[in-house]
Amino acid sequence: MLKVLRYLLIGLLVVLAGFPVYWMATTALSLNSELYGTGQVIWPQLQNLPELWRELGQVPIGLWLFNTLLIAAGGTVLSLTLGSLAGYALSRFRFHGKGLVGFLLFMTQVVPEALILVPLYAMFITFGLLNSLIGLVLANVGFSLPVACFVLKGAMDAVPYEIEESAIIDNCPRFSVLTMIILPLIMPSIAAAAVVAFFAGWNEFLFASTFLMDRGNWPASVGLASFVGQYETPMSAVMGAALVFSLPAVVFFLLIQRKIVAGLTAGAVKG
């Protein structure tokens, strides 16, 4: 009995979580005349696939996705690098200002992007970073670095000191201790932090739409938003593009989801 209830619950959750995506697919495969008039068909009409393909071909979605990938990947690498440094420092050392550092790192999570938009914009002009993907990466990392730091710190906290102790006594430089001993042990958490950073970069809209001027530099978030034109919303094409935009992130997620679950273990419990 309990089992049946449990399966029912799972079924309900799956519907709640998955329906919007299902609907994206269905809408993408519908014709405008159905969407705006006679009533949307609730099954995906695969016969409209060629039409959808044609509509999508009219926008540089491949280029947009490539830009998004660069931004997300760049941000992930930088966040993990700086985050592991900070995480290790907070986990293993006591030093003056440690409390302040922890506080500052947390504070970044409450800063709305809109608030630093304009000063950042002015700064990027001075550095010549405007209209460049690198600038976007730098702006995004400010927000994902602290998250990476906390996740990794939590994981490092769970690693017993004895493991590095002998290496340290042997005069192994702390940096090597970090890279060669600690990091390999917390791979799952690194994966988790990577996912968070990757998604933040993949998703990002405000900075991208403000700092980039060339259409060739647009990531998919900005490209998708531009679709909602002044004069019409070609809903099926929009949904098709939205799906294409969402899919890679979902796939990436699926590939490392086991690691993520294990990875957040160390972090959350000690959290």
């Binding site: 705006y36 430089p173 909602v228 019409e232």
Partner: protein, 418 residues
């Protein structure tokens, strides 16, 4: 320790290198020296399917007469155009030439971001659509297009219902309801009605306001929000909203798409929006009818100006482009891509066009008496002022505040701030 030092150096070098790379790529869009020049033109219309392509093709013709110039698009979605341009210009960046709605144009001029383009207009017979481009005796903008507002309708749907073309708001509601009743799935009337759509809504609403004889300033230059005419206009809008003929919650782009798919009976739209509706949808252009709006007085128009940026490194070249745009061949080409919009010089709509698009002549006629959406004397602040007005309208249509009370509140809010 040694390893740490090496790694740090490497990191530092990479950082410097990438910053340098980024800086160098950012410079490329500016002219290096002498001959080859690149002009960046910002416009939200570049993003419109079909229309954007046609307009850009017209603009690109300039490259034939001036081969040393390369034209580049800066495409900004219309919802973000004002924000984006403001941020860019405020930071000393931005395009060389901007194609902007009147309100944005005024804001840019007021902030000192536009240069005198009087030279471009020398010897050209400019019509009155260029009047507002002259501020305090200096010409900062050339007219690009003027899109008047009119009422449009789906002819077959109307004929099927035997409904007549309305001349008052009550008749509009009646005809719209008749049309919906006769053809199921047809929406009666499409109009903006949400604060989400503010930048478009306040302009659309000016047609209602002006239609009821509203003046937002009196002859002494004081802002008059709470006037009997305004109350009448808001009440009329509320009546329309309450009648259920408007598709609540749809943005205007969605409503326009519905119109294209033959699912809307009436709308009040400008000629630009109508041109888009008439192109490439299920509804044929010949089936769209145009008429005067169901108000007593003339309505509004949207005016778009071209301006040259103060920050541009190629101001002279940009002004030359503007001058070329005002020549007869360019204006003729622009006419073909602009439907019945009024241009900077008088270029009549061809008879063939008028025949194929029966709604076009209506817009041309209404453009003769239409008024600017901006408030005289408060051009730069118009959107802020109208924000209070539209908030009042929103209150009236969503809760049961009566128009007079809401407008009185708006008046005191406006008085406090201005």
């Amino acid at each position: 320790m040694l390893k740490t030092i090496h790694r740090r150096n490497f990191l530092a070098a990479t950082a410097v290198l990438s910053l340098a790379l980024a800086a160098s790529t950012a410079d490329v869009s500016y002219a290096q020296s002498g001959e080859k020049v690149t002009l960046r033109i910002a416009n939200s219309q570049w993003l419109d399917a079909l229309r954007g392509k046609n307009l850009w093709a017209v603009v690109q013709k300039y490259q034939e007469v001036a081969p040393n110039v390369t034209l580049e698009q800066e495409a900004i979605p219309s919802a973000e155009f004002a924000d984006k341009l403001t941020t860019e210009m405020g930071a000393g960046q931005g395009p060389d030439i901007a194609i902007m709605q009147e309100g944005v144009f005024y804001a840019m001029a007021d902030a000192g971001f536009l240069v005198d383009v009087g030279k471009a207009a020398e010897g050209v017979k400019l019509n009155k659509t260029n009047d507002n481009g002259m501020i305090d005796g200096t010409r900062y903008g050339i007219a690009w297009q003027r899109a008047a507002y009119a009422m449009i309708y789906n002819k077959p749907v109307l004929d099927a219902a035997g409904a007549k073309v309305p001349t008052t708001v009550e008749e509009l509601i009646a005809s719209a309801k008749a049309a919906s009743a006769k053809t199921p799935g047809v929406i009666g009337f499409s109009a903006r009605h949400q604060m989400n759509d503010l930048s478009g809504w306040y302009m659309d609403f000016q047609s209602w306001a002006y239609g009821y004889g509203v003046n937002w300033v009196d002859k002494d230059g004081k802002l008059t929000i709470d006037t009997p005419e305004a109350v009448a206009a808001v009440a009329a809008f509320k009546q329309t909203y309450d009648s259920g003929i408007i598709p609540i919650g749809d943005s205007m782009p969605t409503q326009r798409t519905r119109f294209k798919e033959k699912h809307v009976a009436f709308s009040i739209d400008n000629s630009g929006g109508t041109l888009n509706i008439a192109s490439g949808g299920a509804l044929a252009s010949a089936d769209i009818g145009g008429a005067a709006m169901p108000f007593k007085n003339p309505g509004a128009h949207q005016q778009i100006f071209l301006g040259v940026s103060e920050h541009s490194k190629n101001q002279d070249e940009a002004i030359k482009f503007l001058a070329w745009l005002l020549t007869e061949p360019a204006q003729k080409a622009l006419r073909e891509a602009s439907g019945p919009d009024a241009l900077a010089t008088d270029v009549p709509v061809s008879e063939a066009y008028a025949a194929a698009n029966p709604w076009a002549p209506t817009f041309v006629k209404l453009a003769e008496n239409s008024r600017s959406t901006l408030i005289p004397g408060y051009e730069v602040e118009t959107m802020e002022i109208m924000r209070f007005v539209m908030q009042a309208v929103e209150k009236v249509i969503l809760s049961n505040v009566d128009p007079k009370t809401a407008l009185a509140e708006a008046q005191s809010a406006v008085d406090k701030q201005f």
